[in-house]
């Protein structure tokens, strides 16, 4: 029963090897790509293993941007980084951007927004972020770019890549609607940063 699904995943992993070898971005790199664009021309500081942050100004708010350190293929440690920044900076909003699994009939590259920590993996980073956010009574917003499991580990497609501007517009809208000038905001780009520099 599950053999076709295993074959699909094995085929995707096999094809992904060429993509990683050439340092080309994969579908999962959309989070670091979106936040990395906001980080350009700002000083980057190490905050956890393979994880960097930068400070920027978005609509008069202090934005702390967090993502894995590219262009190597790593997801960093967003859990440790966000936990430390929440305790240190006492922000009023946390926005997380990640790739998310789409349903069979949904379009690739579609952007959805919601509430909660947008992060996959085995749950360690998610727990750390949710624990720190709950202790600080911090609202967590999620913006996700939909894609299939195969697309997430394969070469980034045009539909996924072109969602960058849409997500930037949503970030700006959430910040203007949910925060006041001079507030601090943490924006996290979750995912594998292969082929993306900040």
């Amino acid at each position: 029963m599950i053999i076709p699904f295993l074959m699909l995943q094995a085929d995707a992993l096999n094809k992904a090897m060429a993509t990683f070898k050439k340092n080309q971005p994969i579908g999962d790199a959309i989070g670091p790509m979106i936040v990395g664009k906001l980080m350009l021309e700002h000083d980057k500081h190490d905050i956890a293993v393979d994880t960097v942050y930068a400070e920027s100004d978005i609509s008069g708010r202090k934005a702390i941007l967090v993502t894995a350190k590219g262009p190597a293929g790593t997801v960093g440690q967003p859990g440790n980084a966000v936990q430390e920044l929440i305790n240190k900076e006492n922000p009023s909003l946390l926005i997380m951007i990640d790739a998310a699994l789409k349903l069979e009939g949904e379009k690739t590259g579609e952007v959805a927004e919601g509430i909660g920590a947008a992060i996959g993996g085995i749950g360690v980073d998610k727990f750390k972020i949710e624990e720190a956010a709950t202790n600080s009574n911090l609202p967590v917003y999620a913006i996700v770019v939909k894609q299939s499991l195969v697309e997430a580990i394969s070469l980034m497609t045009k539909e996924i890549a072109e969602s960058v501007d849409t997500v930037h517009n949503i970030i700006n809208r959430i910040i203007e609607e949910r925060t006041n000038p001079d507030d601090k905001i943490i924006i996290v780009g979750v995912g594998n940063t292969i082929g993306v520099i900040q």
């Binding site: 029963m1 053999i3 076709p4 699904f5 074959m7 699909l8 085929d11 050439k22 340092n23 080309q24 971005p25 790199a29 790509m33 990395g36 664009k37 350009l40 590219g70 262009p71 394969s154 070469l155 980034m156 497609t157 045009k158 996924i160 890549a161 072109e162 960058v164 082929g195 993306v196 520099i197 900040q198």
Partner: protein, 68 residues
């Protein structure tokens, strides 16, 4: 019978061509070309001929080659 339809790798899947989109950070003029080794998203490539600002790789993605 239905199992291969559900999830087997599609042998007829077309090979994607990798494109790099270069863009001037000021005048936003995009330039699409095929991917070259060493291309990275957000890498600065040089100066724009029109406005002398940096030209940056804004996107790298795979797309089916267009039929002529």
């Amino acid at each position: 019978m239905s199992l291969p339809i559900m999830g087997a790798p599609d042998k007829k899947a077309k090979k994607l061509t990798v494109y790099t989109i270069e863009e001037c950070v000021k005048c936003k003029k995009p330039d699409k070309r095929e991917f070259k080794d060493g291309d990275l998203v957000h890498k600065i490539l040089g100066k724009c001929k029109d406005c002398n600002e940096n030209i940056m790789i804004s996107l790298i993605y795979g797309e089916e080659p267009k039929k002529n």
